[in-house]
């Protein structure tokens, strides 16, 4: 299969995780081994087989669109690492210099 350290770095970027160089190297080797095992699936005969996403075949469950009791603002914010007034506070998103 051949997963390189560079591939892992790119995947870590997509997944928004900072990895150490040691972790990248270790994961590249381990993912490679796992993906070799997964190659086995290529021998399964899947032509014309439909995919399964829900095992009992449920789809499109609807309900009436009625207002229901929900968490108060304070309850929803109770676990926030940082808040300001009725908002979650995060570091600056838009760089004012660009």
């Amino acid at each position: 299969m051949g997963i390189s350290v560079k591939d892992v770095e790119y995947l870590a970027h997509l997944a928004r995780i900072q990895l150490t160089p040691q972790e990248c190297e270790q994961f590249a080797a381990q993912l490679d081994e796992i993906l070799v095992h997964v190659q086995k699936l290529k021998s399964a005969r899947t032509e014309g087989v439909p995919p399964t996403s829900h095992v009992l075949g449920l789809s499109n469950v609807f309900r009436e669109d009625r207002p229901q009791p929900s968490l108060s603002t304070d309850q929803a914010l109770a676990n926030a690492p940082e808040r300001e007034g009725p908002f979650f506070k995060v570091p600056r998103i838009i760089d004012p210099t660009t």
Binding site: A15, H54, V55, R63
Partner: protein, 478 residues
């Protein structure tokens, strides 16, 4: 004590909830420093709940005064619920999971939160930010995972009942390693509202107990349709206790030959074969069945489960709850550092693998193909259940392994779930129960599998065997 024994004491007015609570608190304080089955335990909270129940004039609810341990990924309002992960450090849910609400309604005492592999990623309970749980039968061995804390607590009589969750075997494999009963209900039988999601097309909550009748009791309490979980099945819940004693005379059992492969421990094989023979003597017709796609279960699972996990775990970004890194200047840095610091190595590995199988250029070859193979695996079960009422297999290929034995080798760890995974991929219910002890006194688990929503039949088959085999009476030396 089992839940039913506790209830018998209450009925006979030989004990009140506070006395049972005190006895368990003493036992937990004595044993848990060694076993480490609890992620969170507050004796005063247990005392308060038990005391409040006693003030009720008429005891209400089918679990009145019965202590129940909750896995650390099932939300309990106001109680730290962390998935054994640093990224959820300090998180106290603002609401109860539906199953927790049902337990409270039934009069249960919430005993605490049980240790687990971080986000249920693991088969050994070693991937926990709180450190590993140990197997009560042999402290040098793992209790299995990911619901290892729940199974170890029940096996060591620190809790009569516990909730676990099962995505690829996380209830059944620890139940097998610890010599308890563990049931993964049909996908949709039990609401997952308030279960912190790992792989949404596979996750189910289920009971862990010492006896089959206790398992039926806890399932009865938590089962049923929930409008807040749109994947739950809108079907009536049978009276599970009533079905138990119907016996198994005339039932048809199947033994899938693909489950008796190389790598199956000889003592496990022997115990399962002896159990099959006992079923024959109970009047069950046993025949061989073939499930030709079994070999694809592990690779299919590790594509689908990691894909779903990488997506589900995107929500842990340091914004709304849990840990946030303080050394990120920009939003992106805050995300990447928070997730670096918050997730353990197995969580990171699975997020990276899941991101890979979903990434552009690989999606069809991996994820798309796995969904099709999943159909083939499910069809194996459909075909088998045209001929038989239930299947008998080993739960795990070996008894409990040693701490540290597989932690450096993820693939070997994944392969220890080889017999439990196809059940989740197919959505069918399955139960693990003790069926023997090895020469070195380690429990062996037998897995019974039935068609969707046939938990009543599963429990009935399990009960019939338990009554003649009596393995539930064996206890670890503590």
């Amino acid at each position: 004590m089992t839940a039913q024994e506790i209830q018998a004491l209450y009925r006979a007015r030989k004990a009140v909830p506070s006395e049972v609570a005190e006895e368990l608190i003493r036992r937990i304080e004595k044993l848990d420093p060694q076993i480490h089955a609890f992620a969170w335990f507050d004796p005063d909270s247990v005392r308060r709940q038990a005391g409040a129940l006693q003030k009720e004039v008429t005891p209400r609810g089918p679990l009145w005064g019965v202590p129940v341990l909750v896995k650390d990924n099932i939300c309990v309002e106001g109680v730290p619920t962390t998935c054994a992960s640093r990224i959820l450090a300090g998180f106290r849910p603002p609401y109860d999971a539906t199953v927790v609400g049902k337990l409270k309604q039934a009069g249960a005492v919430l005993l605490g939160m049980s240790n687990m592999d971080e986000f249920a990623f693991g088969s050994s309970c070693e991937h926990s930010c709180y450190g590993p749980t140990r197997n009560p039968w042999d402290m040098a061995r793992v209790p299995g995972g990911s619901s290892g804390g729940s199974a170890a607590a029940v096996a060591s009589a620190m809790a009569p009942l516990a909730l676990g969750s099962d995505t690829g075997g996380s209830i059944r494999q620890p139940a097998a390693f610890c010599g308890t009963v563990g049931l993964k209900p049909t996908y949709g039988r039990v609401s997952r509202y308030g279960l912190i999601a790992f792989a949404s097309s596979l996750d189910q909550i289920g009971p862990i107990s010492r006896t089959v009748s206790d398992c039926a009791l806890l399932l009865q309490t938590i089962a049923g349709f929930d409008p807040r979980d749109s994947t739950s099945g809108n079907l009536p819940v049978p009276d599970y206790g009533k079905e138990l004693e119907k016996g198994v005379q005339g039932l048809r059992a199947g033994v899938p030959e693909e489950f008796f492969i190389g790598g199956l421990d000889p003592e496990v094989k022997q115990a399962i074969e002896a159990a099959i023979e006992q079923y024959r003597q109970l009047g069950v017709t046993v025949s061989k069945v073939s499930m030709p796609h079994t070999e694809y279960a592990v690779p299919t699972y590790y594509i689908i489960a990691t894909a779903e996990a990488s997506s589900n775990l995107a929500r842990f970004d340091g914004v709304q709850y849990g840990h946030r890194s303080s050394n990120g200047q920009t939003l992106l840095e805050m995300y990447t550092r928070t997730r670096e610091q918050g997730f353990g190595p197995e969580a990171k590995r699975r997020i990276i693998l899941g991101t890979f199988v979903l990434s552009s250029g690989y999606y069809d070859a991996y994820y798309g193909n796995a969904l099709k193979v999943r159909t083939l695996i499910k069809q194996d079960f459909d075909r088998a259940f045209e001929r038989v009422d239930f299947l008998i297999t080993p739960t795990a290929p070996t008894p409990a392994f040693r701490l540290g034995e597989k932690i450096e080798d993820p693939l070997t760890m994944y392969l220890s779930d080889i017999f439990t995974i196809s059940v989740n991929l197919s959505g069918v219910p399955a139960l693990s129960m003790p069926c023997g002890l090895t020469k070195s006194r380690l429990p062996v688990g037998m897995q019974l599998i039935a068609k969707p929503f046939a938990e009543d039949l599963l429990l009935r088959a399990a009960y019939a065997y338990e009554q003649v085999a009596g393995w539930h009476r064996q206890k670890p030396n503590l």
